[in-house]
């Protein structure tokens, strides 16, 4: 079929612009359009004609969330995309991941997966397929010389804190490196757990990160004779300290 014969081109262009060119014919014409300046001009002419009709459409102001979501989708790849109408989120991607049908046949398997996912999402490699970091709290503690020493991270709704030592922490044999959370309002620090001297550790949290860290602006480490229990206060100076931020 010769799409570029002028009369045929004009008929296709006008039905394409109007929207009455459908299905395969519409897709084929889009391919012609991408390659043919003549087709582009024919479509442009019809688009200008239809401007007359577009002019009478009453404007409708979009919600502010639509702009914010657009900005995030385009310019903030590290932050989770804002749902257009509050429909997205973890539930939505889990839903897409499993699909409604799989729930019928393999409910037990899905529930097992969910348990694994809740505790160790990284284990099975099932991160949200957005290329974005999950919503998390992240702390970076530095030593007295300002050199980063400990990276602490926890998913927003998780109950584990991963602690990675960026340089060995000098802990005397009779001491432990105790991690503290320092609330933003200046109230008393509360103990989180014990940091290893080298390597990486996963600390179990007494409550969800969101509950513990929501109002925490800094994390710090003291050297204690024994792990601090709930309600205890730091027994020495902070040897490491740094900001705790929300990663979303």
């Amino acid at each position: 079929m010769n799409y570029l014969q002028p009369e045929r081109l004009d008929r296709l262009a006008r039905e394409y612009v109007l929207g009455t060119l459908v299905g395969g014919a519409r897709r084929r014409f889009e391919r012609v359009l991408a390659a043919s300046p003549a087709a582009l001009l024919a479509v442009g002419a019809w688009q200008r004609r239809f401007d007359v009709l577009a002019a009478s459409v009453p404007p409708v102001q979009p919600r502010e969330a639509t702009w914010r979501g657009l900005e995030q989708r385009l310019f903030a790849p590290a932050a989770p995309a804002a749902p257009v109408a509050g429909k997205a989120g973890v539930g939505a991607w889990l839903g897409r991941l499993f699909g409604l049908r799989s729930l019928g046949g393999a409910l037990a398997g899905v529930l097992l997966c969910l348990v694994v996912l809740r505790t160790q999402p990284g284990l099975v490699g099932l991160e949200p397929a957005t290329g974005q970091l999950p919503q998390s709290y992240v702390g970076l503690l530095s030593d007295a010389h300002g050199k980063p020493a400990v990276l602490a991270s926890s998913r927003r709704h998780g109950r584990q804190l991963t602690v990675k030592l960026l340089q060995p922490v000098g802990v005397p044999a009779d001491r432990v490196a105790q991690l503290w959370a320092l609330p933003r309002d200046g109230s008393a620090p509360f103990p989180i757990g014990v940091v290893p001297a080298v390597g990486t550790a996963t600390l179990a949290l007494p409550e969800a990160s969101e509950t513990l860290f929501f109002n925490v602006s800094r994390l710090a480490v003291t050297l204690e004779v024994a792990p601090a229990s709930a309600g205890a206060a730091p027994g020495g100076p902070f040897v490491l300290i740094g900001p705790c931020v929300k990663l979303w």
């Binding site: 001009l41 004609r49 007359v52 577009a54 002019a55 404007p59 639509t66 989708r73 310019f75 257009v84």
Partner: protein, 194 residues
């Protein structure tokens, strides 16, 4: 052209967006979003989906502003067509989904009594605004209704036939002749010549 309330600097905003100038993107969005959402909402008749389409259209704009050709279309014309194409795709994929689930409802085809008249009112207003009374006379009511349902509602020939209670062949002919006459009468007053 005759689109209302279009700030004069859309072309330069679009040119800056093509160069990945983020400072130009928000003003472009703010200046055009309400009119474009109006267009998408007419077609989809669903506020959430229309806003989603608007968002996707502007993602396209950011990525493809370089392909905008000022010699082919005014900025607003180009934007309207991105939004209309996305809305039409969304409308039809939504229908395909409903059809493939087997729960085919007649929602897409069922047209309340006044639904065919409202798009025609928009079309008449559009022609009147552009002061092209010759077009009003050239297009008979059936042609105006058929064109209006296709343009404002994204209807295809079979939908138009159902909405206007006519055979599909007749609906096709109304659209075809309507387009012929629209082209002629706009050409006669020096608008939209090819």
């Amino acid at each position: 052209m005759s689109l209302p309330a279009v700030p004069p600097d859309l072309a330069s905003l679009l040119a800056r967006v093509a160069l990945r100038d983020r400072a130009a993107f928000e003003p472009l969005y703010r200046a055009t979003c309400a009119h474009l959402l109006g267009v998408a909402l007419r077609i989809l008749n669903d506020r959430d989906r229309a806003e989603e389409v608007l968002q996707e259209a502007f993602m396209n704009v950011w990525h493809n502003a370089g392909s905008y050709r000022p010699d082919v279309a005014a900025p607003m014309t180009w934007l309207i067509n991105i939004v209309r194409n996305k809305a039409i795709d969304a409308l039809r994929s939504g229908r395909a989904e409903r059809a493939s689930t087997g729960a085919l409802d007649d929602e897409a085809l069922e047209v309340p009594a006044d639904a065919a008249l409202e798009p025609q009112r928009l079309l008449d207003e559009g022609l009147a605004k552009a002061r092209i009374d010759a077009c009003m006379a050239a297009l008979n009511p059936s042609m105006r209704q058929a064109l209006a349902l296709a343009y404002y509602r994204g209807m295809v020939h079979t939908d138009i036939a159902v909405a206007l209670g006519a055979p599909v062949g007749t609906a096709k002919a109304w659209v075809r002749r309507g387009l012929d006459r629209l082209k002629d009468c706009l050409g006669a007053v020096g608008m939209g010549a090819a």
